[in-house]
Symmetry: C2
Subunit: 560 residues, 2 copies
Amino acid sequence: MKKKLIGTARGILKADIIFKNAKVVDVLTASIYEADVAVVDGLIAGVGEYTKADKIIDLKGKYICPAFINSHCHVESSMAMPSVYCVEELSWGVTTLITDPHEIANVSGVEGVSYMLENTKNMPINYYVQVPSCVPATPFEHSGSTLDILSIAEIAQMNGVLGMGEMMNVPAVLSADGDVLAKLDWFRNKPIDGHAPQLTGNDLQGYVIAGINTDHEATTWKEAKEKLRSGMYVLVRQGSASQNLKAIMEGVIAEDIDTTNMAFCTDDKHLADIRKEGTIRYCVVKSIEMGMKPLKAIQMATINAARIYGLKHLGSITAGKQADFIVCDDITKFENIAVYYKGQKMERIVANRPSWNIVINGSVNIKDVTKSDLELAKKEKYPIIKMIPHQIITDKEELSYDDAMAGLEKGDICKIAVLERHHATGYVGVGLLKGYGLKNGAIATTVAHDSHNMIVVGTNDEDMLLAINELKNVQGGYTIAQNGKIIDTLPLNIAGLMSDLPAEKLINRLDDLTAKAHEIGVSKDVDPFITLSFMALPVIPKIRITDMGVFDVESFSFIK
Amino acid sequence: MKKKLIGTARGILKADIIFKNAKVVDVLTASIYEADVAVVDGLIAGVGEYTKADKIIDLKGKYICPAFINSHCHVESSMAMPSVYCVEELSWGVTTLITDPHEIANVSGVEGVSYMLENTKNMPINYYVQVPSCVPATPFEHSGSTLDILSIAEIAQMNGVLGMGEMMNVPAVLSADGDVLAKLDWFRNKPIDGHAPQLTGNDLQGYVIAGINTDHEATTWKEAKEKLRSGMYVLVRQGSASQNLKAIMEGVIAEDIDTTNMAFCTDDKHLADIRKEGTIRYCVVKSIEMGMKPLKAIQMATINAARIYGLKHLGSITAGKQADFIVCDDITKFENIAVYYKGQKMERIVANRPSWNIVINGSVNIKDVTKSDLELAKKEKYPIIKMIPHQIITDKEELSYDDAMAGLEKGDICKIAVLERHHATGYVGVGLLKGYGLKNGAIATTVAHDSHNMIVVGTNDEDMLLAINELKNVQGGYTIAQNGKIIDTLPLNIAGLMSDLPAEKLINRLDDLTAKAHEIGVSKDVDPFITLSFMALPVIPKIRITDMGVFDVESFSFIK
């Protein structure tokens, strides 16, 4: 093998393909030069002058640029099955994904992570996993699975696993909790992702010295700069909800800072948004529009991410690297690109149906629910979860019994319930939601961060029960019920998180459901399903609901 | 341990020392900011605001800069014992050495390498070894030792070994020689140093794809740039003999190239030169004088080298790194610096006498030599090794028997002999040398690249024999004989390469010997001992002499 590579690099042996007359995007020196690129056995054999090959492609001066790396993403958040997601990423030039299967791990544990790897193992993409470090995310809800240190170690041994996923349990790190230190120690000398929004000063130093390497939560340049200076790699995030590119890159450009330790990521980006503009490609193009030198932006999208994650075989157009690259006319726009993975051109493909070797459906397991489960206990005062337009943070209100009932009557307030859906324990939290806008009917989802129990919102118990049972029948998804009938359902039967539909169909179905939810009153300022899915996440201010009850984030306790 | 670090980083626990009011040289963002640096247990605990410590040092606005890394050096070439060499490097801010003990390995094999590590293991320096890959360097001479793959593997297991040293056998790499590929394979995923002067085009691609990571042989910017583009790390060399800094950095500055993959090294630098100006410090200062941004030059001297050699605990002033740094007033000059290793200030120390646990003297083992061994075979024509002023390359001449004898008579020509000195095999090569200038007497050395046999030059056999026997008696060194008497001798009794004298004494003694050699006629254009030591290296044009005879480098064969 090495002998063949050396012979091909030297031009003595025939290459498989020679790309003649390329402009090589050299991310090592941050410059461009003209050369041929020889490919053999899926690797770049050499860059220079080459003539001997089975196939010669004349690029006539087009660019050859290393393919992009998405340095942090939760594939499940696309609601597409992983192989479908990969196709969308590939079509915009991403051939490497660093994924954190945190969502499915909360539902299905080791088996869920295994499914993600299995489903993508024949895809033309470098699919890497960071082992979820914090499952369950909080002790204030019941998840489907718990990843203890041995489960984490079991996943760490799987092919395609690089290191440890985002360490969200900042307080445990800072208090030097033994279990958390043991997890960190397991992955020492491997990449360990952080998750430390707004952490600053000495506490940030403590978090870094614990051994955490990256952070993708910076929302301001000030925060990003402090994290860079602390020694962290900063992954600039541009997803569908969290969009930090502009704020951070403005600072980078203004201060002409060294970007060696920076890369791009999406965290969560929806399928429709990806299809429209890509992921990392969008970050590159926007950064260049903002004034970044093109080569510097491309470094962040390629070699920097490869270096951060120790992927020595990726990230540049040099001898011995995997032949993953983009061919295009304009490296400031990256439109009409051709994408090569291991030297083969990727035509837009329809992803395979999921591999059912590992059965990951059958994840909705709830105890029979009756009206009495959805009853609000009679109290003097009720805490109200108040949605804020275009935000996932909430406000907190308190109403008397009479006012709450009046609000329910008028339709200002809906009932919201979270049902434990993994082990049929019968846990149900019931509360009141303001600002959602639903006028008549019920809406339910099994996507409910982070434990992914079932959330149902409704104006009457009958439609709520109908929606609950519909999601039980289809084993997870989105559903809308009204006047005793199911209006529409999108099954998400892969762990109750993902659909097995092809991308275009899935995008259309998501649009349908969203439109129908708005038709029955859900406010235009709220995403009917996505915003809803965050109402169960008990770490975001100010008030949430889990299967264990209504939770006050500020006092970090349930409201009796 | 981790718990203590986290507590100290957070400012809850006391640090050992706090350096207040520092200007932190941040090589990650390439910028400077004001902060305190807390140190505990030899590590940087945190950078920010700190108050609790056993000791507080107010830096009053001085800089704290990461200490320097010399990314490639042959310590033996200083002729000081390794611990003495370390003191000289330390005093100019180098706390990390990536060494290639190629010289001593040629004399003493595994034991020699072990000695270098043993002799420095208690020194306040990070002393790393790259395992010599090419011992012996050529088949045209007899070395003291041969490092086969198992010897290499044995060294690879020693503490302090990082990867493989310079792969000088370029033809074997390019012909995909099995033994060489096996060596490279042994060190896959570890740093492998290259040594490929003037290698270019497809052959360079072949050398890179074989798995070689670094090169320090580029002498022009064109060569350095091609190597960078090929994917190699370029170590810019500035030693006593080979000085490539100016040529390369001029190009870097003119083209504003990315320097992420570049570092500085010395290869070979003499003790007197180090004492005068330092090693890496000199590279930084000169680069800045030439127009390099100070932070960029400092990156090359610190974090870049750490990254290239996978030294994750070194290279920056950030929490968790080893507390190796320089405190100074001016980061463009680095004069009057204070050097800290593991948080402790290094006072100029007298290095210990060598550790004799591993006996490395007794390396001069020659068969008894008589006049007849030094006799020139009678031939029609004699090849003459012609020294060129201030160069180590030589010219080739041919003289008739009569002309050669007349030259010897007049003193234009000297006799030169190389004697196998490791295993008393009795091999002696005898030839004629022009341009050395010696008028009366003999000069001998056991430093003779790369096999380090004994070289003796003389105007008469009696003095030559005297010099030979003197070096046998002192077990290696430099000596000068005249009129049947030894004028002066510097014993180099550590492998015949290094002295156990303290640095200042050694520098003085080297000056003495050099002056005395010039006094008895050696040309001012020739370094009496150093230039001589290269006359036995059969890979440098055009003509050399080994213990096996006079060697024509162009035809790569001995001259009969």
